[in-house]
Symmetry: C2
Subunit: 260 residues, 2 copies
Amino acid sequence: MPKRVLPNNANKDFIKNIFLFSGLTDAEKETLCADGVLYSYLKKEILYRQTDPVTHFYVICKGAVHLFQEAADGSLVTEHLRVAGDTINSTPAFLPGSKVHHVNAVAATDSLILDFPISWLKNAVQNYSVVALNLLCSLSQRAYNMELEARNQSRMSSQQLLACFLTRTCVIEGHDQRGFTLPYSKSIVASRLRMMQETLSRTIPKLEECGISVENKHVKIYDLPKLEQNLCSHCPGAQKCYARSTLQKDAGNIKELKAA
Amino acid sequence: MPKRVLPNNANKDFIKNIFLFSGLTDAEKETLCADGVLYSYLKKEILYRQTDPVTHFYVICKGAVHLFQEAADGSLVTEHLRVAGDTINSTPAFLPGSKVHHVNAVAATDSLILDFPISWLKNAVQNYSVVALNLLCSLSQRAYNMELEARNQSRMSSQQLLACFLTRTCVIEGHDQRGFTLPYSKSIVASRLRMMQETLSRTIPKLEECGISVENKHVKIYDLPKLEQNLCSHCPGAQKCYARSTLQKDAGNIKELKAA
DNA sequence: CGGCGTATTGACGCACCTCAAGGTAAGTGG
DNA sequence: CCACTTACCTTGAGGTGCGTCAATACGCCG
């Protein structure tokens, strides 16, 4: 079971920096957080299960959460990998009708998560228009990323998908590109990228062409020019140019790496 | 150029029934709509182009709009097909930074579209918390559909994708399942389903197995039990069950067809 | 050590993409 | 009304990336 974490100076900063609250005064933040409880989840601990009723809204302060569907035969399909700063259950909160989880949520790494009752979110949105705008902003961002992802999914090779995933992970989670440890198992990565584990295994050696090396869970991004170039090639025929255009965002990530 | 349509009794109903406004009084709706202008777009008329700055927020009252990316080599990739009731540009309105369209928007059929200045939306959300909730609801719905779509995309065969698309189109656009005319060109459909036109052509005859016939643009959904059965099979191996679970929504559409 | 979950490797097949060549429908100008 | 153009769609032959199935190897813990 997750352990409740008492507020202290160290974790108070998490609350102050939650994007949803940006633009509020510290006093307002504290009022809003009165209904929130901070929990520490160990890796593999369950937030909720598929078909459970939706009861909470979560803000990930540290760590990562794996959202996935489980089929009758036991096969798993990743829906999202949410990381620090992301929210969970912001969308079901606003949908009409029976609110039941359609995915499982499990801590992918040891995590610090702020839990609110699900009704809290709707109230916060109604009472603070800044919160409404912030939430709309993060949902818009998420929608944009999903569109990009959908395009990449259908136009890019497994190499490119993996290369993009690794560079994005490196940027988002603030790792050092010269060498960092991937916090997820390879099966999660494969599922996240909608490819088979076997395909992922076979893809990893090919990443050397892109200037990325992966050994066990240790990732090195050692040749950015090569990476940049390979992300935009390897697309057969007419799709080449298309893929390039969708890669603008990923190119942005590469730039971030360069700047660092 | 789109023609401005003057408010009259016929199109006043469109404004009253906009989902974004549900929960408001008629007077409030009219106040909000003061900044809106109703336009009639002919098929193929352009709402905006890729890389244009974002200037307007749109509500589709009638018809459909095709959102697509155009690559340097001229190849097109569909991002969305929005239909009556949908909004356009609700997400860019809340994103920070330079606001530039990353897709083209073109009327896919003759359409009636309500245009607002882009700043209008943010104001409406700030001034009316009901509008904020409504918008969050429709964005949540859209996010849910995109997740579903992403799953289907990677797990379903082209037959299933096409069958799902046709049944959904039939339901969403309120056609008669016994026979209706698809309002889109086949190239749009193919692009929407992220498959090649050739693949779509070859897939159409196979739809007879699912109880659907397509000739030119005329679609008949004539065997619902067969359809239901075929949507859940044809998935190789372990993915079978997975696909079934994602098909709940489509199964819902089939039920709607049955009820009609 | 043995058991278990995770990861790799190989052989094989198929669905879909690619390239290329008609074919059909709709609009245009004489 | 008929030639002509253009856009859209269909059909064929061939290639390939990735899924499938199955066997093996690795790392971890009791």
